[in-house]
């Protein structure tokens, strides 16, 4: 059985980077797939990879990670750009979706510009 756990933006917006990453990793280590509203900052993504590597064991081999973010519209008017920036500043950057799953469950996340495919392990691997 696959379990997806949704993390709405409101649940993580008040957390600092370390707390956010700890929360994500705790859920992933329970063999659940995280669907997080919004995306991590680039520095948070690298910290997530670092913390993941620090935690790698025989049982936990790491994560599969993917972020879907709406493509920047080109040739937008200045007002539209300013409006979007203001909205982000006031309510936070809620656009996009981040998928993070344990590598023992999610074999691969393939992303093309317009679609995402989650490949699962067919059965739980036996650790020697």
């Amino acid at each position: 059985m696959l379990t997806f756990q949704l993390i709405p933006y409101s649940e993580i917006s008040g957390l600092n980077s370390e707390a956010k990453i700890k929360k994500i990793l705790n859920i992933v280590k329970e063999n659940k797939i995280v669907l997080m509203q919004g995306k991590l900052k680039p520095s948070e993504e690298t910290t997530l990879i670092q913390r993941t590597m620090e935690d790698v064991t025989r049982e936990f081999s790491g994560i599969e990670l993917c972020t879907v973010y709406p493509a920047e519209k080109r040739n937008r008017e200045l007002w539209a750009i300013l409006k979007a920036l203001m909205v982000k500043y006031i309510i936070g950057d809620r656009e996009g979706l981040t998928i993070i799953g344990p590598a023992s469950v999610v074999k691969e996340i393939k992303k093309d510009p317009n679609r995402i495919e989650l490949f699962m392990h067919s059965k739980k691997k036996k650790k020697r």
Binding site: P42, E45, T46, I49, Q50, E54, S61, A103
Partner: protein, 211 residues
């Protein structure tokens, strides 16, 4: 990180203004098995006459940061000197059982896995020290992997100049167009580090990147 980006920017600006002699660190970054060490070897053979590290089909062959100091390359009338930093491949998962498929014994596989996780952490830590980066990607693989996007995003956030290299163009499955459409804001050069295809074009771009 904002402070670090600002420091990087300031260092570059001051360096240009006062032409101070500084040691440039040029990093080779990318996912495992994209050919970073093959490229480092190609550069070192072409300009220093000897290889830099060992390469292997088994992922995570490079598990420590390797530095070759004072590499000087010339392209046209331009000449640049830098310290070449070959980094371990960045990955989000490392399973020792994957190494068993390459006929490593369990102990060696476990050791390799442990060293590889440390290598990934070190590679990320070193991002802050780079002055410019060549992002080495396997042109036969899907470029839209999150690791690629994360590395590029971090370099952009730190204002570190980046050149994207699509390696392994000698292979039939190579698809440079896909690489270019994945990273439209960056210059993409297709090469074969193993065979030396198009490396002259790469050296030309490197002189622009470092300057």
């Amino acid at each position: 990180m904002v402070i670090r980006s600002f420091q990087n920017f300031l260092n570059r600006l001051l360096g240009r203004l006062f032409k101070t002699k500084r040691t440039i660190k040029l990093g080779l970054y990318g996912p495992p098995n994209s050919g970073k060490t093959s490229l480092a070897n190609r550069i070192c053979i072409d300009w220093l006459g000897k290889e830099m590290g060992t390469v292997s089909a088994i992922p995570h062959e490079t598990r420590e940061i390797n530095i070759k100091e004072n590499v000087t390359i010339k392209a046209g009338n331009k000449k640049i000197s830098f310290n070449l930093v070959d980094t371990p491949g960045i990955a989000t998962k490392i399973d020792y059982e994957d190494f068993l498929k390459f006929k490593l014994n369990p102990k060696d596989a476990k050791d390799r896995s442990k060293e590889a996780t440390k290598g990934v952490i070190d590679a990320i830590k070193w991002l802050d020290d780079m002055n410019c980066v060549i992002m080495v990607l396997d042109s036969t693989k899907n470029p839209y992997s999150q690791v690629n996007i994360t590395i590029i995003g971090n370099l952009a956030a730190r204002n570190i100049p980046v050149l994207v290299v699509g390696n392994k163009t000698d292979l039939k499955k190579a698809n440079l167009k896909k690489l270019e459409s994945a990273f439209p804001q960056y210059k993409v050069i297709g090469i074969s580090a193993l065979k030396g295809d198009n490396v002259d074009e790469l050296y030309k771009e490197m002189t622009r990147l470092v300057n």
